[in-house]
């Protein structure tokens, strides 16, 4: 069964990481001191919290991605059957892509694609 193969690979991955971690823990040399437990920031002590609000640009791209990625979900079935459908499929996808392209152009015009 196909899905079983998937599970096998999943378990294999888990086994690889867990096993290697285990072996590493087993054979590695261990030492401890407070400095070693500090975050590494080129030798400077870290200032302020790390989990802060990030620049909105990142999220903006995430939102854009969300939209365009879902659009791929629609294009995939279309692409698969395109050969069988022909003209109608072509016209419809042109409409689809024109709207999508307009959306991209709009985002472009509005400066959503500009990294500030």
């Amino acid at each position: 069964m196909e899905s079983e193969a998937l599970i096998v690979f999943f378990l294999a991955g888990v086994a690889l990481v867990a096993g290697a971690n285990f072996i590493s823990n087993l054979i590695s040399h261990k030492s401890d001191n407070p400095q070693k437990r500090e975050p590494y920031e080129s030798g400077m002590p870290t200032i302020g919290p790390t989990w802060v609000q990030f620049k909105v640009g990142y999220y903006l791209y995430a939102i854009l991605f969300l939209i365009f990625d879902v659009e791929i979900a629609f294009l995939v079935p279309w692409a698969v059957v395109f050969k069988d459908l022909g003209t109608v499929a072509f016209i419809e996808i042109i409409i689809f892509l024109v709207i999508l392209g307009l959306g991209l152009a709009y985002a472009w015009r509005k400066g959503a694609l500009k990294w500030q």
Binding site: V8, F9, S24, Y61, F65, D69, A79
Partner: protein, 354 residues
Amino acid sequence: MNTSLSITENIQDWLLTIMPASAASITAMALIAVAYLTFFALAGLFLVLMERKVAARFQLRLGPNRVGYYGLLQTLADALKLVSKELTGTVKADKFLYNLAPYFVIITALMGLAVIPFSGSIQAFDINIGIFFLIAISSVGVIGILLAGWGSNNKFAMIGAMRSGVQTISYELSVGLSLLTMILLTGSLQLSEIVAIQKDGWLIVQGHIPALIAFMIYMIAGTAETNRAPFDLVEAESELGAGFHTEYSGMKFAYFFLAEFINMFIIAAIAVTIFFGAWLSPFGITDSLPWLGVFWFLGKTLVIVFLMMWFRWTFPRLRIDQLLTLEWKYLLPLNLMNIVLMALIVWLNLTIQF
């Protein structure tokens, strides 16, 4: 087991003779898993070595040459060193996420490998939505990177992870769309079928101009997907230490390293599968010898991998705004137009048929 590994069938038959059916199938699966894990590790080691050698050659150096014959065992030694190193981590880290991250990257890489058709018979997982599965699984990988960055609670790691996130999701669009362009030609998502269609000619030839464009986009986007130079500002050493895996040491660092190279391999393998006929030999010169398919496949893949290594030493690293501009303002519109072009060509039957 639907996996059409011909070796397995023999082994499976043999297994069935010595134990009950369910135990036999479990054992068979375990064997497959072991085989792929071995390949996974070996490929990783080899690619690292290759990278270093290629890099050395580009820089008129010799590269690793002490350990083993021509330094062939260098990476194995490195691996052993990594295993024996202590697994450190900061006190401030979010322990659970920090430890979870490697699982994500490794498992996704491994699953990606599962659908690659190494030859007509060596393909663990021939799902009917193969390409879709690949696109899907490769977007899970980015979660691992984000978790690593977040879980480390380190500013470099965090910035690296955020950059990686925005870069990966951006270029994922192009990867998906360029593969979609080729799906228009194949009419199928199943990798084995896609290979079958290329019997008479590679898709890059069948689809000529748009396929060529798609290939170029795919290569650029694929390189960016794997966070390789010139798109490696995720782990830009000069800025961010080691980027998202700054806080990982020893084996845990090795996972990311390994996954990166395997991902590179997967990207190349997909390129070979979609554009260059996978394990099919050019002009059918070795059609009579199907077992040669594996070597054709690996050979082609290594050529593509070499190409990606070549990029690294040819182009300077991009700034993040350039990176995003390249994707959103050039590749994406180009890709959309390319799809229309491809659709037009398929619709008007202008593909090159043999």
